[in-house]
């Protein structure tokens, strides 16, 4: 046989070997020695790990820093890892609960006094006290401008070892609410090195940091012996892995590499309902998908044009068929579980004929017969932009484009990544932008309105929205103390905002969770930023 012949035989042999490898393992011959030894090896690992209970969690964005000033890092540390804590907590009914602070009082228009727990120590053994709170908040407020705005704190003053006084920049009744925000979590001085860099998250939570690998975005933590409360859980370690891609999170959970994965593809609700060893659940949070019209554009200054375009969107179908039922059709601005929600507002329910009639009344006709409405020679053509991070953004924007097309309005969709999106929003080259935001990021009646509807908010500035009456109501609401009067001010503001129809809630956010059957005591709270893993979560 010549050289070519030998090559051919070898190639044929290789092909057969590869095909054999593709075959079904169940029907192949008895196991070889190596197979057996590999399996027993696995058993051994399992045996030695039987008293170890590692809860593996997938975090839906990449963690690059543990600094409490970094939004993603702080959210992971507080809500998922349970390493850091805030002064105040919020329960699933949006009521405030003591956490590191036991009680608080508004002592003046612009002053608040907080009493702190006296039995708390940081993970490094140092005591948690007023000095520690002052040091941590001063650091966060100094470098985090948005936190300064959200909280409105001017100065922090130590009254005694366990009492802190806060002076505010403006009259606000919402400091306790602001202290539920992950950005206000308290860490010890030893979190920061001599150069002022944040190196380790030394908090007060039930879990303390064990390791953090920036490269793989993996964070591990173990129970802290000195925790001030009794926690019933058998988990000996929490391992949090950053997995930014929804499909990858889902597959990791299906392969039993992860015990809890959130924000997996919507279709998982259907595909995985019968899968072994895992359960799939849907959960709605106090997060919304909302459109903001760029009212700097002349034609969008006409409220009837804005409303007509909203009438064109079939929100029921959007939630049922585009979001595959993951989410809810909103009634007004806030989810109805929030005590201050005003559900008695006009939601502009789907009515394509009315949309067409309103546009016609506003002077839009298809004068050149191309199927697209126009006025004074200008086509009614919109540019919808949205960010890529939240799973429903691109879907809702694409569906909206379809709805607009059916009433003769042309639309282009741009789905952009973080920075590119911000750039487009800042230079105003859009007609409609779709956003997703947590309405309970600060669980107060005014926070969400102030952040997205007020003329001084960055959203208000970007889209050129200003209604002095609304602004004034939001400011009064913010200054009022928690209670029915405050909620009523918020409801009035919501009614005006909905009537203006400049910022419009198109769907309530839903998330699909994949949970391993081994996970116990997992509960949902609509009030958190993304999802919370309670300290009590255990493994079977």
């Amino acid at each position: 046989m010549n050289y070519k012949g030998i090559t051919k035989v070898l190639a044929a042999g290789l092909c057969i070997a590869m095909l054999a490898g593709c075959g079904d393992n169940k029907t192949t011959e008895p196991k070889t020695d190596t197979d057996v030894s590999r399996e027993t090896g696995k058993e051994k690992v399992k045996d030695s790990a039987s008293d170890e209970k590692v809860l593996r969690l997938a975090f839906p964005s990449t963690i690059t820093s543990l600094d409490v000033m970094d939004g993603d890092g702080a959210t992971m540390l507080k809500e998922v890892a349970g390493v850091i804590e805030t002064l105040v907590n919020v329960d699933s009914n949006f009521e405030l609960q003591p956490s590191l602070a036991t009680e608080w009082e508004r002592t003046g228009d612009k002053t608040w006094v907080f009493k702190l727990r006296d039995d708390v120590t940081f993970h490094d053994g140092t005591p948690f006290n007023a000095e520690a709170v002052k040091w941590c908040l001063d650091r966060s407020l100094k470098d985090n401008e948005s936190l300064r705005q959200t909280t409105g704190i001017d100065t922090v003053e130590v009254i005694d070892d366990h009492t802190v006084q806060f002076a505010m920049t403006e009259a606000t009744g919402e400091l306790p609410e602001a202290f539920t925000n992950v950005g206000t979590a308290i860490v010890a001085k030893s979190s920061v090195n001599d150069a002022g860099e944040f190196v380790t998250a030394v908090g007060t939570g039930y879990f303390k940091q064990e390791s953090f690998d920036v490269g793989s975005g993996t964070f591990t933590c173990v129970p802290y012996d000195g925790y001030y409360k009794d926690v019933k859980t058998n988990v000996t370690e929490r391992k949090i892995v950053s997995i930014a891609d929804a499909s990858t999170r889902s597959l990791s959970a299906q392969n039993h590499e992860i015990d809890v994965a959130t924000d997996v593809p919507f279709s998982d609700l259907e595909t995985l309902k019968d899968a072994d060893g895992i359960q799939v659940q849907q959960f709605n949070t106090a997060r919304t998908y909302f459109y903001s019209y760029n009212v700097n554009k002349e034609y969008l200054k006409d409220a009837n044009v804005r409303k007509a375009l909203i009438y064109a969107i079939n929100r029921d179908e959007l939630v049922k068929d585009v979001l595959l039922g993951v989410g809810a059709v909103p009634e007004g601005i806030f989810i109805k579980d929030m005590p201050w929600a005003n559900t008695e507002v006009d939601n502009y329910d789907y009515d394509a004929e009315k949309a067409k009639a309103m546009l016609e009344a506003a002077g839009y006709k298809d004068s050149d017969g191309d199927g697209i409405l126009d006025k004074d020679g200008e086509k009614l053509s919109l540019n919808i932009v949205t960010g890529s991070r939240r799973p429903g953004n691109a879907l809702i924007a694409q569906a909206t484009q379809g709805y607009f097309e059916s009433i003769g309005v042309e639309a282009a969709v741009e789905v952009l990544d973080g920075n590119a999106y911000n750039e487009v929003i800042e230079n105003g080259s859009f007609d409609l932008c779709l956003n997703s935001a947590a309405t309970g990021y600060v669980p107060s009646a005014s926070y969400y309105l102030e952040t997205y509807y007020h003329s001084k908010s960055s959203n208000g500035k970007n889209i050129g929205y200003s209604n002095p009456e609304l602004d004034s109501l939001i400011e009064q609401c913010k200054a009022a103390d928690r209670g029915e009067e405050k909620n009523e001010l918020s409801r009035k503001a919501q009614a005006i905002a909905q009537e203006d129809a400049v910022v419009y809630t198109v769907a309530d956010y839903g998330a699909v969770f994949v949970l391993s059957d081994a996970v116990e005591n997992f509960s949902y709270s609509a009030a958190v930023h993304d999802f919370i893993v309670p300290n009590e979560v255990s493994l079977k």
Binding site: S267, A394, Q398, A399, Q401, G402, V413, V415, D417
Partner: protein, 285 residues
């Protein structure tokens, strides 16, 4: 009958690849030209009640999450994806050849500057560099073409410059100079025809990989935008329904694979045919 036999006798291992490549790219070209007549449905029209229909008689490739027919979208997508790829190759070949010839012909300081620039650009992995430029320019088909051209022209410049340096001292060039040809005439009449065959080979070999680059960048959201039926965008759209509706990613994926394969086979065949060293091998088989 005899003619057919002669035809088959003519075929051998090398030109079978060429003919297959030409057949595949020919079919692609026909699809691009006649796309509007081949589409059974409007490729961008949303119809939510028809979402996620698996491949069936009405929808050969199934439908996607917005109820759009995937076959029609793949056909329409051929226009977007292939025209982008061809545009990228033509622009970068023209640019690269021009710069390469000028650089090689004039030499000196300009040559040094241009070639160091080429060295720098060649040091980056193509796709990563294109990704960076794309991010800088923003999304959209036009920016995608610019981004890939920015990295792709250097390969042509290298080849054209090499050829120009070889030719510069040839006797007939000296002769042309002696009869008073201007620099422009020299470049156009003597240099350009000499490099064109090499450039053509590269063009045909490059289209396949450019199709993949375009699809990758569109997949990452930097190229065409939804609901444009670009193949990369379609795969990206279908990614989240991989387990639920695999046909959403399968068919655009196949379209990319087949077109890249077709162009690569044609490119290989043309290279074998035009390269004098390879030509002997082809003929002797």
């Amino acid at each position: 009958m005899r003619q057919i036999r002669n035809f088959f006798n003519m075929l051998n291992r090398k030109n079978v690849i060429l003919i297959l490549g030409i057949l595949i790219t020919g079919c692609m070209l026909l699809i691009v030209i006649f796309a509007p007549h081949l589409e059974m449905y409007d490729p961008t029209k949303m119809s939510l009640e028809d979402k996620f229909i698996p491949p069936c008689r009405e929808h050969w490739f199934g439908t996607d999450h917005m109820g759009r027919d995937i076959l029609s979208r793949v056909i329409e997508g051929s226009r977007v994806s292939l025209t982008t790829a061809v545009a990228v190759v033509l622009v970068s070949a023209a640019l690269g050849t021009g710069i390469g010839l000028v650089s090689g012909f004039f030499g000196g300081f300009m040559d040094m500057i241009l070639m160091r620039l080429v060295d720098v650009l060649l040091a980056f992995p193509t796709i990563v560099f294109a990704l960076a430029i794309s991010t800088l320019l923003g999304t959209g088909q036009g920016n995608l073409i610019i981004a890939i051209c920015c990295v792709q022209w250097v390969r042509y410049a290298r080849i054209a410059r090499g050829e120009a340096i070889l030719l510069k001292n040839a006797e007939y060039i000296e002769a042309a100079k002696a009869i008073g040809c201007s620099n422009l005439q020299l470049l156009a009449k003597y240099f350009f025809p000499n490099v064109i065959s090499k450039i053509l080979i590269m063009v045909s070999l490059d289209i396949g990989s450019i199709i993949l680059y375009c699809a990758s960048l569109s997949f990452l959201g930097l190229g065409a935008q939804p609901p444009s039926p670009d193949w990369g965008v379609m795969i990206s759209d279908g990614k989240n329904y991989m387990q639920y509706a695999p046909w959403m990613t399968l068919f655009p994926g196949l379209a990319i694979a087949v077109s890249a394969l077709g162009f690569n086979m044609m490119g290989d065949g043309i290279r074998d045919l035009l390269d004098p060293r390879m030509r002997e091998a082809v003929q002797s088989e």
